[in-house]
Symmetry: D2
Subunit: 421 residues, 4 copies
């Protein structure tokens, strides 16, 4: 096994690698310090629910030091940001993260964190809830259930305002498991009506993100099943409504980067839930299955920066960490996302455009490949180093003893299954 | 093997079966003669290109009596309609079917046929064509190529007007085989511009159908890749623009009936290219792989009849008959499509709506299943009999000697492959 | 809404429909009473875990009267069998269903039930378990974990022997979520070794069923991922080892009936976990999504009856009932499975073989379609009636008050979610 | 656009980059010259059919200088090898490439080329062929057709022996387009019988490769549909029979690298048809869609080198170049394949094994990612330079004027379509 280089040696190696990469990039007409500045400015939000160990319907296997509440979650998020310097914000999920807003705000501020979009939850029943979401929420046939779901979203906005969020993300599980169970059109009309009731209460500087997903938890039809339905929602609601793209929510073989491009073109891209997937909504670590796809998504985003005024999609992670330490997975994922961004920033766009106009498919493709092939790790690491973050965050985290420390403070959680598969 | 019943016996059996079914339906509150009338009124267009044997990129294996030109194709289409009574119109493909419009009109009239939507072709190069469509047509980077493609579509409209069509179907193969080859947004903008140039020349009583397809012939990205892009096209172009749904053009696992419902809801369903598929755009015979899916599509159409004013989607077949006699496949397919329509008409809609409102998923589903389970063959056969068509069209066709007769008149065609897989 | 016919009227209608169908079948050379006898002899096992409301990783929404333990589950299973006459056996899952074997046996006998294959569970951790299955069970890198998993399977055999089971079903979740996490070959070698340790302890009249699944809970690779791996397992283990096919465990677009045929041909089809699916392992009600596919599977089974000596695949249901009353779903599913069997028994096999030999693809297909199109409900209902089961089991169940009664006895269960998506 | 560096500057840059990379690799304990030697020794066969422009069933758009015959194809292949130094062999397809074997051998030798596996073709009808393969070849219901197909394969072996091939690749299109059309088991039995007749005539130092494919040209079922069926074939035939893996021939979402691992474990991996795909058998350029997947496949191959005696899978390309210059695509693809091999050779295997044994999923994954992230282009380029090939083969090819020259010699080919979609 290779020797882990640390401390002064690691820094010296990094400086040498940065210099060498800088020289190679200069030959391609790229200024490495400018790229480093872009890397340093890049940020992605961590999901509060991501710092606990995830699971499947079959089982959940918790690890040591599972967060007990939103404050533990914020502490974990702070650790991620301390070591990567790339995750300045957290995305909360209500009611799981419900707490005194002032306390949330103060704690976050003390930890150097801010809040990104706030997430409502009408896909499960909270204890004591009046109506059940078993048969839907915003699209439910019963007006009382819909009103409750609308009310919950308004409460999320209120919490978000109190803590400084500027967006509400709405993902629902509404749909059906049987042909015939739901009337597609009436369900969608009810959904639009409910969302309109939320939309009109949105603060003027907020954005409303609706999120599409092909299936799960509904297994025959889902009300917001794809980007086609999603963009119709954003059109119907109005200028503050946008589409959120979760990379794992599409049909097999879908060209996701093209969907991203369409949403940009029609002014309706709101942002992302980053993760990776092989089969479905696997919620795997970003870039771990198909890193080139992640790069191609960022290729669209960097391209749009040049021609879309005020282009500012939300960057958020949404993953389930079932077999790794969630803090390590989130750090690694944030860096992979940043890597894809920097690689995309490396694309020689005038050359690309020239090849596209000339239908030189091979060289157009090679232009992308040349950027993707470049190992930009020295740029990312130097940006981290200069921010006071870690050259190698995972190694630093392991050396820090953080997990052992919180495992002492936080009681062990039993795993298990529901007895129902 | 069971004995084939014919003539008087077959008719007597049919009358008995019709009566018995009528009694069973009456118990469910359904009047069989009303259903028969709906069946009799139902029609689906036959594609001119479907009466020849199809093939794949690997090979084509022609059969006896391949049509030599559009007039042979019309003769074959007439045979299909003669025996099924369900295919009163033909859809032409230009330039393949180019001929003197007056001759086309007269021939069709003499055969008792009309013309449905006319199809343009900018996915292959015609002999003598000035510009190649190798790198696209309506979305090509070169304005000259786009102009040629627009011109071709205008010519199709002109031909269509001369023969009595009322719609133009535009399916293009434009897309890319490599990441980077095309700029998604600029390609789509060029497409929209070209289509606008066609749209403005559309006669006032015509509809323009754009057709989406996930992939093939382009294997990385396709300009009109899904219904999301397709509905944006129809919105951008205007009120005469509609989306055409080919059942085989979707991602694996897609819920097609839900896409149909969305297009209906937003007033943009133009019609169908019916066929069936297991893997991709397989162009298999309608209902041969998943007959319940075909039923679920018609369930949406029959539902819409009740609440969409002037609901009139185009019914067209688009199949490739590689291993069967094309006439037999088209007859069988037309009957399967009609069967799905009649089964959907059987759905007890007030009951269904009641179960949907009550979230009684099981009974809602059973309501659909009860309709699908009903063997409506006596209704279809009686409608044919009363029109003077065949009780059993395939048996009648085989007995007719038609294939042998045209095989004598039409020279044998050699199969083969391109030497390029 | 149509009037629900009951009692004497329903029976009179049924007798009339049975007679009428009998006449139509007689014309096709089929003797209806023989089919009824086959229907009456058909049985499928109910999964003990299926009588409780299922859920997803996002939430579970229990209904009234959830079973508290295995004895409640047996009572529910008995109700299913009482009304359908088609589910004489139950399949248990250990450790969920652990109880005194003698009590299990007596209770089942009193309820008129037997036991089918017993299922082990090494995909979740039971309370107090020594080693965790977080990183695998039978294929775990640690010999201690593997030994524990083997031991658990041996315990399942012991329980099964005590209650009269004759087969052990082994489904594991072992796999990986990241490229590199597991060494494919070493994992599979460890799995084979563990299974061999189970196999050698199998009673001489037992079968060992291994079950493949493409993904979930592991989202990058799964040790027993498809039928290819599964048949290698059965070959390696020996003559008592067979493959279990769960209809929802395959890749998108897979031709499942062909996989069934291959397993039959090589003597390794053990049986089924019936259900239906649109996207993945959706565990939807059998026949609710693609009834023709279910028919095509049974078409292979009925075909095999003619030429495979002692052909006796296990019929078991494996579903998750999230939005219906589990008893109603299981009754309906059992009837759909039986329906597919009877329809498959209707296929005119000499005719089919003739068409296959002549490459008459159209008529071969029509031969299957004619069988599938036949509404065999009168046969199923008459078989039920003659057994003393219900003509319409769902209506009878609703009329029976069973659910309300058990809801009084069994405490309400709260739904909810884990706070981790 | 960046300036293209050439000649002395390019070489100086390369030497500097090679040195710098060498230093970085040395820190990881890797000797760059050893890697370069492995790169230099790597070779992949070019398909003769790949040097012509490919197409789809919709159209084919030829480019300038299409090869007229096998000798033109060999000339093009030689150009590919001259510039990349990585494609020393050619794979022929019979009857397309039929020619005097002595002339083939001499021409190839003069061009510095050898011959890899020879491919038979029973998926299309050759002019003058006695029986048609419309309804199958090796599995056809008619013994005469099967005998003809066997005979053709024997002829391929004879040609292969004359030119120095050591393997026969058998890919057939046999299958069905309709449920019921074929009897799965009888078809497969006929296939096995036919293949046995070929196998027994295989020279003792030859290998027989059977190739699986999910679908196309058959669209309902395919006789050799997946690796499960394929390994059964290889087992049935005997020790000289192996499975060929075409990367584009699998179900959506399939884990191909795991299939490769299974075939290795059971001693039945024969080799590859390299390409890339997004939707189906797209035959896109290797590594152009999912380069990480290609790396993961090579990760299995490099891993196996360490523990499989005499491990020697055949490396062959199988692509369709529809929108690029085939020579450029083949050069680029060969380099991508070689790149994946060298990156896989970089994996720190002792570290990986340690992480796997410790279930450290994150670090195991990072170990693979570190290798994949490394830009090994200097190693590949240096290996080329030292062989006398080009630092930048595409640039060199464009500068060479080869395409213009052959376009003068070889008549232009018209594109077009069949008139049948």
């Amino acid at each position: 096994m290779t020797v882990q280089r640390t401390g002064a040696t690691a820094e010296a190696d990094l400086r040498r690698d940065y210099e060498s990469l800088g020289e190679r990039l200069a030959r391609r007409g790229v200024e490495i310090d400018a790229l480093k500045a872009r890397a340093a400015a890049f940020g992605v939000a961590v999901p509060s629910w991501g710092v606990g160990t995830g699971g499947t319907r079959f089982a959940r296997f918790p690890g040591p030091g599972e967060p007990r509440d939103v404050f533990d979650k914020l502490a974990d998020c702070a650790e991620i940001n301390r070591l990567t310097g790339a995750t300045p914000t957290v995305s909360l999920h209500i009611p799981w993260d419900k707490a005194d807003p002032a306390a949330l705000r103060q704690t976050a501020a003390a930890l150097g964190l801010g809040f990104d979009a706030i997430n409502s939850n009408t896909f499960s029943d909270a204890p004591g809830q009046r109506h059940s979401y078993k048969f839907g929420s915003l699209s439910h046939t019963d007006a009382g259930v819909r009103a409750q779901a609308v009310e919950h979203n308004l409460e999320c906005i209120a919490i978000g305002e109190a803590i400084g969020s500027k967006a509400l993300t709405v993902w629902i599980g509404d749909g059906s498991n049987f042909p015939g169970q739901s009337h597609f059109t009436r369900s969608f009309e009810r959904y639009l009506q409910s969302m309109q009731a939320v939309y009109v209460r949105l603060p003027g500087d907020w954005r409303l993100f609706s999120e599409h997903k092909m299936y799960e938890p509904a297994f025959y039809s889902t009300v917001v099943q794809d980007w086609g339905t999603n963009i119709l929602i954003a059109q119907e609601l109005g200028p503050q409504a946008f589409c959120l793209v979760d990379l794992g929510h599409h049909a097999p073989n879908a060209n996701i980067e093209m969907i991203v491009a369409r949403l940009i073109q029609f002014g309706k891209l709101g942002g992302f839930h980053f993760n990776d997937s092989k089969y479905g909504d696997d919620d795997l670590d970003a870039g771990s299955i198909d890193p080139y796809r992640l790069f191609l998504v960022f290729n669209e985003l960097v391209d749009a920066e040049a021609w879309v005024e005020g282009f500012n999609p939300a960057h958020m992670i949404d993953q389930s960490h079932n077999v790794t330490d969630p803090i390590e997975s989130l750090m690694t994922s944030a860096m992979e996302i940043e890597r894809a961004y920097v690689q995309a920033a490396l694309v020689d766009r005038p050359a690309l455009e020239g090849y596209q106009d000339a239908n030189d498919a091979l060289m157009a493709n090679q232009t992308l490949r040349a950027a993707f092939r470049t190992d930009v790790e020295p740029i990312l690491a130097m940006a981290r180093l200069e921010k006071g973050a870690a050259i190698d965050p995972v190694a630093a985290f392991r050396a820090s003893g953080y997990r052992a420390k919180v495992a002492e403070e936080r009681p062990a959680v039993a795993g298990g299954s529901s007895g129902i598969v």
